[in-house]
Symmetry: C2
Subunit: 230 residues, 2 copies
DNA sequence: GAGCGTTATATCTATGACGAAACAACGGTC
DNA sequence: GACCGTTGTTTCGTCATAGATATAACGCTC
């Protein structure tokens, strides 16, 4: 059963959710200088766009400046806040897209110690520090490829010298080259390997190849556990 | 203008998007053993729930097993695939939640070199390697707090010994303690500091305090740039 | 064979979101 | 004062989604 991860991103204030359609509207206003032309460009009704803009401004503050009459008949321009909102929305989407696209290794485990939202999870690979759910000890730990850093085993930093708390010795089981990003699978003693996403430069400089010994590290604060079924 | 980041997560197959309401339905079925009782529990209509379940199974394959008649009148149970879909959805949500919650530093810059989707961005702090958008050199680089690792300046790994390509020397400007997660702000020579989210253990072992020198590193493959307005 | 409580199916209703169209008002230009 | 093309406002229609209700059918138990 194959399924793609998706999302609808939003920024929320006062029960109003600023989403992709809203960002598209503001971008079209920015490009055309007119709410009328922007609606046309997007194939949307002028009256709805106008109403929506009012709702957004009630929640988020002034996003546009509008003038009536004049040589072109009037116009609409984005405020600095309007541009900032669109920029922030784009960054948020980029972040979610990273989550949707990145590879994830899932390790079953049991929480054995907690300090606030952090915990120690006992897994096949050993103890993993992660952000853990409050109500259960039965969890699965997600390790994202873009959160795993690889180190030369002979030169990996001492525990007192780095803030990355999870460190495992392992063996490279696969090296899969993309355009500029390389996916490296590392067996750290769990049932399935974890992935690390590296640049080609890193692969060369670390001399990563199948069968090589390597140290994989990832931050506790970037590792999340979710409840696991009985 | 204050706004909270939000999202609607989904897993998609055959133009059907499995979302939070669907996950809630499957969880309620799991808890009650009955589609009828699950709908009641969720305050939803039985016929809609039934129809939706059919749509989901057409797209994702068998998610439940249903029996009619018998001692209790019949019932509905989740299949292994049904449970796996819910578990995968929960992991996806946890990932998006991490994005929504984490602090982000934004650095303006210009792309000066590209290799596929990776690029070098010239910023106030120096060159940053990141995943860059294809159509523009004017970008802003987002550096997420949960992606930044701190190192002892005297003991940070050599460039040939780690896959984290971005490394900056900086000074700690703030240490802000949460329950178990500590937010450390580091001035790396950009207009605004970047944040690193650390465990309390890391803060102690690294002896992180305001004014201290520190090395901050983050992976190129975990760093994204988005287009920046003129 | 009735009873039970479920699954399965059919039909109806309400609501929110959205597109569409029409018209009033604006204000600089000619 | 007319013209232009915009903003601003009003009204209408359609569609998708969802809730609600009713009924048929199932199959084990008594």
């Amino acid at each position: 059963m194959d399924a793609d991860a998706g999302f609808d991103a939003s920024l929320r204030a006062d029960d109003v959710a600023f989403g992709a359609r809203d960002a598209a509207l503001l971008r079209a206003i920015d490009a055309t200088g007119s709410l009328n032309a922007a609606s046309d460009r997007l194939g949307r009704s002028y009256s709805r766009a106008h109403e929506r803009l009012d709702d957004l401004e009630n929640a988020f503050g002034p996003l546009v400046e509008r003038t009536r009459g004049g040589p072109g008949g009037g116009g609409t321009t984005l405020t600095d806040d309007g541009r900032a909102l669109v920029a922030r929305f784009e960054r948020l989407r980029a972040g979610y897209a990273a989550i949707a696209e990145t590879t994830v290794a899932v390790l079953d485990g049991t929480v054995t110690d907690r300090t606030g939202e952090l915990g120690v999870v006992d897994t096949e690979a050993g103890a993993i520090r992660a952000l853990v759910p409050p109500d259960t000890d039965r969890v699965e730990v997600s390790v994202r490829g873009d959160a795993v850093t690889l180190h030369d085993p002979d030169a990996s930093p001492a525990a007192d010298a780095t803030s990355a708390r999870n460190r495992f010795e392992g063996v490279v089981t696969a090296v899969e080259r993309g355009d500029a990003v390389v996916r490296v699978a590392v067996d750290i003693g769990a049932g399935t390997p974890i992935d690390a996403l590296l640049t080609a430069t890193s692969v060369e400089r670390l001399d990563v190849e199948e069968g090589a010994s390597i140290v994989a590290s990832f931050k506790a604060t970037a590792t999340r556990a979710t409840p696991r079924e009985a």
